[in-house]
Amino acid sequence: MDSLSGVRIIDFTRYAAGPQITLLLAFMGAEVIKVESMVNIDHFRREEAAVVFGSARAAADCFNSLNASKMSVTLNLTTAGGVELAKRLVHLSDVVVDNFRAGIMDKLGLGYPILREIKPDIIMLSASSHGSTGPESRYIAYAVTMGALSGLSQVTGYAGGPPVIMRSSADLRPGTAAAFAILAALNYRQETGEGQFIDFSAREALSCGIGEIIMDYTMNGRVRSRNGNRDDIMAPHNCYRCKGDDKWVSIAISNDEEWAALCQAMGNPAWTKEERFGDQFSRWRHQDELDELIKAWTINYDHYQVMEMLQRVGVAAAPSFSNEELFNDPHCRERECFTSVQHPEEGELYVLAPAWKFSATPARVTGPAPLLGEHNEYVFGELLGLPEEEIPKLVAEKILY
């Protein structure tokens, strides 16, 4: 049983933020039909992707991570025939998602007013980097630039150092927020029978994650900047070098009790009794020296070891895990965080399993990412009922293209 069984989604999205939206819904049982085209091929399917990610397999792997469990059809939306078929698909669907730049869906003849005529209770979400209104709505942005525009880069980095750019997570965060919005609309429709249009802005989604930092400005006129791993009141609060190459453990102490436990675990060295480390505020003031002294201890141990030693005495410590470490980690293994799919071209590929554990309707990965147009027969033949001869004709006419 899946939470979203019976929900059909027509997915016009490409690249990362958009596909993340429908990926999450697919995990929960929605049927996602990805509308692709050679005219405007997904970034991960292009030749450049192999250069960016190091190999064709790596690019296919990334595409697979974002599009597992979905179906793919090819539709050339620059043709009237393609747009017509798209509309027929919408007629059979519950949700439409796109992440074109503002105005594109309208230009294609697939704007909300038209789709609502076709299916009155359709839920349509248009995600764009800047939203569909406002003076910057036609601007182009990607994860790196949205991270900067959202305010995240300004407050990320070493003190006195340059702002730090965000990576793919700056795409997947907005994608996640958009999935939430669609679920809210689905819930509303379940109660009332009404669909609606949702205009979604990726950069705004990112800004919501620094709400309290923005509040410091709106309440106090204070503009925050980068401060490494520093916290407003906790100390020690940093990542400390451990034994080995680029191995780190994060340690965070929030009260005297935890501090005493940390000292104990370190063998109560004399320096811990110095007055400048005597209370929370004082420790916070002398963090730089404190960090050096703690590092002199952690550097002797493996980062997993430090986690175990400190957790045993009630101190918050966790390694800065690499992707390899997480894949092999005993906790992640027991939680079944990774699963694998059989990809038609790449063979066995691991994917991250869904992040929630439902007791009645487990979320799951049901298959690999589709090949381009892999489900043309099923979708146009079976779902839409086009006669068999029709499909090769549409391929030849570059409508299914």
């Binding site: 525009l149 109660e191 106090n220 503009v223 990542c239 680029d246 991250l352």
Partner: protein, 402 residues
């Protein structure tokens, strides 16, 4: 009055700090009724965290708390007392969704685990948010936001593109990983509600913050297993572009499509060096990224952030700016988008808050009420709704139950 997307959904929150409260804030802002339980006397720990309104520490003036608890009703209740448990169970009876973020096993120890609560309310959806989930060897590990962020995979890669890895990996922003976890839980809750309307059944949802963060880095997570690629801070960054110095600070840009590179070159007035063959295609530019950045910087330092952003975008080049919180509030674009809403609160008066990234045509986000004062709705909930008498309430208060 505009309609509400989650009208009629009743949520009970037993959470503190960021992740859990953010989860229910997302639901409350879309019209769910959220009743937030806080400990009598002290309340949510977030109340004692900065930024404070005018830098004056006050449990009713923490910007963190105020942002995270908009549109909620607030009550005080000590569920570790027998009487408190009884009242809690009365509340559960009328609740659709319970969200709690206590250490695993804590609710069981209190006799308030899912199996028990299901006896009172068979349709209850119970969502639990913890650093490492309800099962597994790290289940009972303590983790503050920094530890959570570093355990999710992204910490190890921040900052990206550094030449050496001698400096520590960093967190992003303030509590970003906690916000991520709250959002992750909110999604699961809405899916469970959707299913419940069809099937009638509730369920238990186990949300691990670590897994919620790994999910945001899903591309990287499997690269070692699939290609033997261990991704590190040294290997990250963009081939060219990213953050570069300009006349009055930093600019940011990236080009993806080849045509965007062409536009960038035109935007710079077609410098001689750009004609060189080595920059002619994507592979060439990817190889010579450092050189490109050096050459670009020579030109960029003569132009301001604003100029590069707006004129660059007008020329079709994906420029951006490193926005500060002030820039966000001053942004004409965000003003027109209505991203900031003004909320009036008894302690702070009217203050601007970030709202949400979605604009629903039928069920827009609305501000119904500011974050609650501690115990503000005790009378409404305990007396008017549950039917406890006024005299009883004062006794319960004196006994530390509410």
């Amino acid at each position: 009055m505009p309609k509400k997307a989650l009208e009629g959904v009743k949520v009970l929150e037993l959470c503190q700090m960021v992740a859990g409260p953010y989860c229910t804030k997302l639901l409350a802002d879309l019209g769910a009724e959220v009743v937030k339980i806080e400990r009598p006397g002290r309340g949510d720990a977030a109340r004692s965290l900065p930024p404070f309104f005018h830098d004056m520490p006050d449990p009713e003036a923490s910007g963190l708390f105020l942002y995270l608890n908009t549109n909620k009703l607030g009550i005080t209740l000590n569920v570790t007392t027998a009487t408190g448990k009884g009242i809690f169970q009365e509340l559960v009876k009328e609740t659709d969704v319970l969200v709690e973020d206590n250490p695993p096993q804590w609710m069981t120890k209190q006799g308030l685990d899912y199996e028990r609560l299901r006896e009172i309310n068979p349709r209850i959806i119970m969502a639990s948010i913890t650093p490492f989930g309800q099962t597994g060897p790290y289940r009972d590990y303590k983790a503050y936001p920094l530890n959570v962020f570093q355990s999710g995979g992204e910490g190890y890669l921040t900052p990206g593109g550094v030449e050496n890895v001698d400096r520590p990996p960093l967190k992003v922003g303030g509590f970003l990983g906690e916000y991520d976890s709250g959002l992750s839980a909110a999604i699961a809750i809405l899916a469970a509600l959707y299913w419940r309307r069809k099937s009638g059944g509730g369920q238990r949802i186990d949300i691990s913050k670590q897994e919620s963060l790994m999910a945001l880095n899903r591309l990287d997570m499997v690269r070692s297993a699939n290609e033997g690629e261990v991704i590190t801070r040294a290997k990250q960054g963009v081939p060219y572009g990213g953050v570069l110095p300009c006349k009055d600070g930093y600019t940011v840009f990236i080009t993806w499509e080849s045509v965007q590179w062409d536009r960038l070159v035109a935007f710079m007035g077609d410098p001689e060096w750009a004609n060189d063959d080595m920059f002619g295609d994507y592979t060439g530019r990817y190889k010579h990224g450092e050189l490109i950045n050096a050459l670009l910087t020579e030109w960029l330092v003569n132009h301001t952030q604003e100029e590069l952003y707006h004129k660059g975008q007008a020329a079709g080049v994906p420029f951006a700016m490193v926005y500060t919180s002030k820039d966000l509030v001053d942004s004409e674009h965000l003003k027109e988008r209505g991203f900031f809403v003004e909320i009036d609160h008894p302690k702070t008066g009217k203050v601007k808050y970030p709202s949400s990234p979605y604009r629903f045509s039928e069920t827009p986000c609305q501000v119904m009420r500011p974050s609650p004062l501690l115990g503000e709705h005790n009378e409404e909930i305990f007396a008017r709704r549950l039917g406890h008498r006024q005299e009883e309430l004062s006794k319960l208060g004196a006994a530390g139950v509410i």
